[in-house]
């Protein structure tokens, strides 16, 4: 596998505000690479620089061998973007949306027509070909955005929070399609706040916070190194914490008190769970550790707005 995107000291400033603060990463051809982070972490800004709609303030950013920049039409030609906001052309029908977009990529009309038929099938919108955009559900609009991003047969697909606001059915359909594309060898760059989405799709990911990369790795590896295998949650007020920590602390590799819940992180939770059964407490949960635990541990539990 070869490197398709590489960033060194990548920085983006808006006036005095630093949105992306000197980050380094490398994306391999054919993988799914995720940018995770809370609102305002700099994920979208980073991918906007990758698909050449936002200029780089400092550092280097190379995409498929050439420097990324606003005027780089060649790079835009091989990139497909599934935007965060629904940017469909509401004056046009489903079919016209795709037809007009195909022109922007200089796809000849006959080829465009065949490609559109194929893509409408791919996203299961064949029956909505002549609908107007405001007659579509949010899920259909998102699927149309996926189809639109594929018109130019991109080698790199950038999906910026592609399933925001979708019901589970629609979300799973989009995931299916993205995995299908990956299987065809397309490089997928994903930003998301949904940990399940990252776990479902990403081979490797970085966790971003306040413009910086906090951690990088594969989802399983990150969970194991940051949290362990299991999480035990005890929901009760903090007045018995001392006693619980004395008895259970040695069995876990870490703990954390957040509001009404005491968390224990364990390499192997069985021992702790047995001890807990003996204590006979109400309101306890024993579950496998997830990416969400990693995310919250790294980016903090306070609200980020």
């Amino acid at each position: 596998m070869s490197t398709i995107v590489s960033a060194r000291g990548l920085t983006k400033k808006y006036g005095d505000f630093t949105a992306v603060d000197g980050i380094d990463f490398e994306i391999q051809e054919g993988e799914c690479f995720g940018f995770l982070g809370p609102n305002g972490a700099g994920k979208t800004t980073t991918v906007r620089m990758i698909h050449c709609v936002s200029p780089v303030t400092a550092g280097t950013l190379t995409v498929d061998g050439s420097a990324a920049g606003v005027d780089n039409r060649a790079l835009k030609k091989k990139t497909g973007v599934i935007p965060q906001e629904i940017t469909l052309d509401i004056d046009l029908t489903v079919y016209e949306n795709l037809l007009v977009f195909a022109r922007f990529f200089d796809i000849p009309k006959r080829e465009a027509k065949a490609r559109i038929a194929e893509l409408l099938k791919f996203v299961e919108l064949e029956t909505r070909r002549d609908s107007k955009i405001d007659q579509l559900s949010t899920g259909m609009k998102r699927r149309l955005l996926v189809a639109r991003a594929l018109l130019n047969k991109p080698r790199i697909i950038i999906a910026d929070e592609p399933t925001t606001g979708l019901d589970p059915q629609a979300r799973h359909l989009i995931w299916q399609r993205l995995r299908q594309l990956k299987a065809q060898g397309v490089t997928l760059i994903l930003t998301t706040q949904y940990m399940e989405e990252a776990q479902q799709l990403c081979d490797r990911l970085v966790v971003m916070h306040q413009g910086k990369i906090l951690k990088a790795g594969d989802p399983r590896g990150l969970i194991e190194s940051e949290i362990g295998k299991d999480v035990v949650e005890i929901r009760m007020p903090p007045d018995r914490d001392e006693e619980l920590l004395a008895r259970l602390g040695p069995l876990a590799c870490g703990h954390e008190r957040v509001g009404d819940t005491l968390y224990f992180y364990c390499r192997d939770g069985i021992g702790l769970w047995k001890a807990l059964v003996d204590l006979d407490l109400p309101n306890t949960v024993h579950r496998p550790a997830t990416l969400e635990d990693v995310f919250l541990k790294l980016t903090g539990r306070s609200l980020i707005e």
């Binding site: 005027d71 935007p83 906001e85 052309d89 004056d91 037809l99 007009v100 922007f104 639109r148």
Partner: protein, 255 residues
């Protein structure tokens, strides 16, 4: 300036979306100038007698014609473009394709001047039905060129305003304080020669004055020497506004 043939792709997109509004906009483009022609031309013209040897309508038509070009192209680049940027996010998806920000803005300017041209042609047809015709076929061709140039100028000026507009209300400053007063100080309805000195001076600074002068000359086929200044202003200001408008819009679009 990163311009390319893709301007036409943007123009094509506008043409495709236009078919939904075509009837409404045709009617709107017709009604307002028709009011002017009927109230001023027919109504007032009856009291004004001959204007340089011809009925008042001959004086009025070339001016109203060019002001309808101004109105259409201006409004398209104010409200039309603003909606595409802020409400429809159309520009966001455009600049993610090989279409550059410059192509996108120039495509919209081309579209707005086309809209201006259509309004102008409709006016010309109405005037023709009322028996007010340009002096020759050549005159008609020159008029079409003039309408196109004037359309590009006002569309580009509109882009400059839109590049700084935070909301729709902002456009009222421009339309109410610049565009509408210009109608009355540019010799559309009355010859400038009757204006007091300060108004004559002021009118020389209004682009519409020069546009009307060219239109009137083309209509009558009589070109006074001052036409060169008029042409220089329309072409010069048009080119300047085109470049500045695109630059300022790019600043708004690329962040």
């Amino acid at each position: 300036m990163n311009l390319s043939y893709r301007i036409y792709h943007v123009f094509f997109r506008n043409l495709m979306s236009y078919k939904r509004f075509i009837l409404t906009t045709f009617l709107v483009s017709l009604v307002q100038p028709l009011f002017y022609l009927i109230t001023f031309g027919v109504g007032m013209g009856a009291y004004m007698g001959a204007f340089g040897g011809k009925p008042y309508l001959y004086f009025l038509v070339p001016g109203v014609l060019i002001s309808s070009v101004m109105m259409s192209s201006t409004f398209e680049c104010l409200y039309g473009t603003f909606v595409k940027i802020v409400h429809e996010h159309l520009y966001d998806s455009l600049i993610a394709t090989p279409v550059s920000a410059e192509d996108a803005v120039a495509g919209d300017i081309a579209w707005a001047s086309f809209r201006g041209l259509v309004s102008g042609i409709l006016m010309l047809a109405v005037a023709g039905l009322m028996g007010i015709l340009p002096v020759s076929v050549l005159s008609v061709l020159v008029l079409l060129l003039v309408m196109l140039a004037v359309g590009i100028m006002f569309a580009s000026l509109g882009m400059i305003v839109t590049s700084k507009a935070p909301n729709f209300d902002f456009f009222s400053y421009y339309t109410e304080l610049v565009i509408t007063p210009m109608l009355f100080f540019s010799g559309v309805f009355f010859p400038l020669s009757n204006f007091p000195g300060w108004m004559k001076t002021l009118s020389q600074f209004l682009p519409l004055t020069h546009a009307v002068a060219i239109s009137r000359a083309a209509f009558s086929g009589e070109y006074p020497p001052s036409i060169l200044l008029n042409i220089a202003v329309v072409v010069g200001l048009g080119a300047l506004a085109f470049v500045v408008g695109i630059r300022m819009m790019k600043k708004r679009l690329i962040k």
